[in-house]
Symmetry: C2
Subunit: 245 residues, 2 copies
């Protein structure tokens, strides 16, 4: 399945959190993009790099992570198609974290210069991109609260809630759930938990009938009950009315 074009993905994503004029959408369609396929586990940019391109995720899943001096790894965000996970590199020259692929993925590289140019010419695009980085930050805040305050059980539920919401916002989830690409190890690295404990937590969620997670596919039978358990309120995702519906 060929799926939407890279430009369509980007536009759909930006429309999930902003509004674009047709002129702005057309301008975005003019962005030069170089496609690249990535293996599972491949790194796109690493801490210390000074990227000259931004990366748009077209297909698959990416994640950002920090490696501590001890070797411990903390995942700080998960990304779905349409996301530009290193948009920040437009204004932050040196990477303070790394960006890698969670699953085999396709990404499109866009030269910084081309983005800077669009931003200068279209205030609407500038706003949308700035806003995108701000939503990113809002999600980071929620993750701090997730790791800092919630029990393992709630934490896992919250992580999954957010993931499904993000997938729905770009049209990649339906009533039957959506792909969920994380291994238990990766979930642990996202939530500040050991693999063993993640395993036990998932079993508890399954036993309580809250999730059906198998073969990297996640289904939530009772969405309202699940949100309640997670303490999930989607406000922080700042979705436009259309995308939130």
């Amino acid at each position: 399945m060929a799926g939407p074009s890279p430009h369509d993905r980007l536009i759909r994503k930006l429309e999930s959190i902003s509004t674009l004029t047709s002129e702005e959408a057309a301008a975005l369609r003019g962005l030069p993009m170089t496609l690249k396929r990535l293996d599972d586990d491949a790194d796109i940019v690493c801490i210390g790099d000074r990227p000259s391109h931004c990366c748009l995720l077209v297909d698959g899943f990416l994640f950002r992570y920090i490696t501590l001096p001890t070797g411990a790894r903390q995942i700080t965000s998960l990304h779905v198609p349409g996301d530009m996970p290193d948009l920040q590199s437009l204004h932050l020259e040196v990477m303070d974290h790394s960006l890698g692929a969670l699953a085999p993925s396709t990404v499109a590289f866009i030269p910084h210069a081309a983005v800077h140019d669009l931003v200068k010419r279209y205030t609407g695009i500038a706003s949308a991109l700035w806003r995108d980085t701000l939503v990113d930050a809002a999600i980071f805040r929620e993750w701090i609260a997730n790791v800092g305050q919630r029990s393992a059980y709630q934490r896992a539920a919250h992580l999954m809630c957010e993931f499904v919401y993000k997938m729905r916002a770009v049209g990649l989830a339906n009533e039957d759930g959506c792909p969920f690409p994380l291994t238990q190890q990766e979930m642990g690295n996202s939530m500040g938990l050991s693999v063993v404990h993640v395993n036990r937590t998932l079993q508890a969620l399954r036993a309580d009938g809250l999730i059906v997670l198998k073969a990297k596919h996640l289904k939530i039978p009772d969405w309202e009950a699940f949100k309640k358990v997670a303490g999930f309120d989607p406000t922080y995702l700042h979705l436009s009315r259309r995308a939130a519906a």
Copy 2:
């Protein structure tokens, strides 16, 4: 002590992470500001609000926090003079968290319209402000790692390292340390730890000669040793060379 003007604070802060032309600095000096004094514990904006102004911290200390459905509170950031902690409200209409005062403080309110106007007219200011929100996000990422991966002992050390660095960057710390306004309860809410455990952790840090913390003043006798314990690398603060020195 009257101290620097609100505009000076802002300019100094922006210069700690960017460079401004003299024309841009002059334009910033033209920003309309309304000063307000705040008590300890006062809230400036709350979750759900739709602010029409940004807030510049002139004097004192602010913090952002999320309140979970259970009533638990997670502090997501600490702010020192020169910071604009709700700059994000320029592009995110509704607040997904709250902003309050850690200590008696003075803040300056700036109408969104005035900021939007400056951003439109000076790309350098637009870049500096966008960059400021991106540094904010980088700090959130580091906090996720702090809460998710580090022991209580390291966590506390890291929190203090970051705070002192931010104070130094705007000229508010010297070799004798700096003010440190957090109660142990607030430190706990910042690090995902109970008050009791914060207390014991601080005692351990004191016993090891790493900190001298008394009457809300913090001094680090051996900075290199302390950074090592904390696993602290200031890259993520993205300070300009001048401010990092």
